[in-house]
Subunit: 308 residues, 2 copies
């Protein structure tokens, strides 16, 4: 019997997303499990909720470096509890279908290539902008099977230490975590900001959304904070263009909600730095699959895992 | 008649190197034209000196960004006189064989893959360390046809302006030009250094070789200068490993002569920064083709230009 569906799993951050996806590229059913406690238990449970006899394979996208044997995650600065868990073996033995694993941002790039903003490009770089920053590279229409840890590229050689061990990582200067850090530091010294009126003044409860909203309302501190992070994102984007000369840079993750200030500043900064000939022919555009990119890409890799 | 040779040309720096190469990977004849004045004239002349009826095609490796049509060089910060010259058309019309053009560091990577230090690797990054810093990436056994301007990756976001337009480029902190810059600055303020005794004290005549030699003789200023550049090279190498997770980083160019101080410092710095799992499985090794890498790679691309 030929099977026509795959399950795609996105274990990219604190949420677990599991989707049943058709070979035509539609999501048939989707589950989101917020605030994961433990990983194996809720993962196996969520899969069983959408599993059917028509599932050919299961694909898992997960934050971190996948090991060489493609069976588990070696290192995951943002999801340390997954390190070393024999996740592929466990899922395969429980459900009896092939299981593939890949880095979450790589998987999102595959999703965008399959049915998203990357559909019409043969070469693009995807950056996922959230708590951390992930990267995936599509080259010649295919996923480059490399680490693509673009968020852990040092852009300030003598900069702050990152949880990955490196110094001055792009992620430390341009992610949601960085934005919150800039905001807290600025608020500790600032007299005026809309942000001080939120959460009864508890600035540690602020979210990037709060900051973007305040910025749109004209709060100067919030605008400065988003521009600062955007500028560094621009440095990272520029490096990606100078290295990969892609047709497009596709930006995904929660922070693209702050497009008008944060991303626009990034594009402006990148335009000043990048080889002009490369920049002139590039598009910098948002993900079109949003939260579903990971599910879609993981399902695609599962459906095509026997192709090689 | 099936032809068994190609001409490989390396227009990477101030020298022009032209070689007649067999399909088996041997250099039959080689010409080096130092200190180029003009480019087209000496280039066409040098080709005619080694051209035979058995030449199937000609490959040209040249410093800079190749245009999308693969006919000329769009931008070349280190060889501006080549920009816009219709070099492919001119060579093709004069010699009547197919002509291919590619970036010089990309071509050197192909050379190392064909018969050099990269022979046994499917995935490696090549960095050419000279006046500037170039990059080439071999992925899945093949040249990645991207800009790979690894020397123009910003590693100090707010650093010095580079001739490419970017700020804080790796090349500005770790190349031969950077080493000479560090040395001159240090000597202007230093009281003691072997380097002051050379060229009747004209520190602007110093070469990287002088500095390495002095360093080996125990000159502290020279050691510090090489270590400084090596440290930044390590940042660049670390970024390359975190992005490409290669099996090897191969280092070529004149500066690898300073291996024991400059490169060793770079390896030490990279070891501190890179994802441990990636660093543990990597080799950082010198080019084995040296000056011939460009000729070899350009000839290889010429011999295989009809393969696609």
């Amino acid at each position: 019997m030929i099977k026509h569906h795959a399950i795609g799993i996105d274990l990219g951050g604190t949420n677990l997303r599991v989707g049943l996806v058709s070979e035509g590229g539609s999501i048939v059913e989707k589950i989101k499990v917020p605030s994961l406690e433990g990983i194996e238990e809720p993962l196996l449970h969520a899969i069983s909720e959408v599993f059917t006899d028509d599932v050919a394979a299961i694909g898992i996208g997960v934050a971190g470096l996948i090991n060489r044997e493609r069976t588990a995650v070696d290192v995951s600065p943002n999801l340390p509890s997954i390190e070393g868990v024999k996740i592929v073996d466990e899922v395969r033995s429980k459900f009896g279908v092939p299981v593939v694993i890949e880095n979450d941002a790589n998987v999102a790039a595959v999703g965008e290539k399959w049915t998203g903003a990357g559909r019409d490009f043969k070469n693009f770089v995807l950056l996922t902008l959230g708590t951390g920053i992930g990267g995936g590279v599509i080259h010649d229409g295919m996923l480059m099977d490399v680490s693509a840890e673009l968020g852990h590229m040092s852009i300030i050689a003598n900069g702050v230490k990152c949880s990955c061990g490196n110094y001055g990582c792009l992620e430390s200067y341009a992610s949601a975590r960085a934005i919150l850090g800039y905001a807290v530091t600025a608020l500790e010294h600032a007299s005026q900001s809309i942000l001080k009126e939120l959460y009864q003044g508890n600035i540690y409860k602020l979210t990037p959304e709060d900051i973007y909203k305040a910025a749109l309302e004209g709060d100067n501190l919030s605008r400065d904070v988003l521009r600062e992070a955007g500028k560094y994102l621009g440095v990272g984007i520029s490096n990606c263009i100078n290295i990969f000369s892609p047709e497009a840079v596709i930006l995904g993750g929660g922070l693209i909600g702050a497009w008008n200030i944060y991303i626009k500043e990034a594009i402006r900064e990148a335009s000043k730095r990048t080889f002009k000939k490369l920049f002139d022919s590039i598009q910098i555009i948002p993900s079109s699959l949003g939260d579903n990119a990971g599910i879609m890409g993981a399902a695609y890799l599962a459906l095509h895992s026997g192709d090689e």
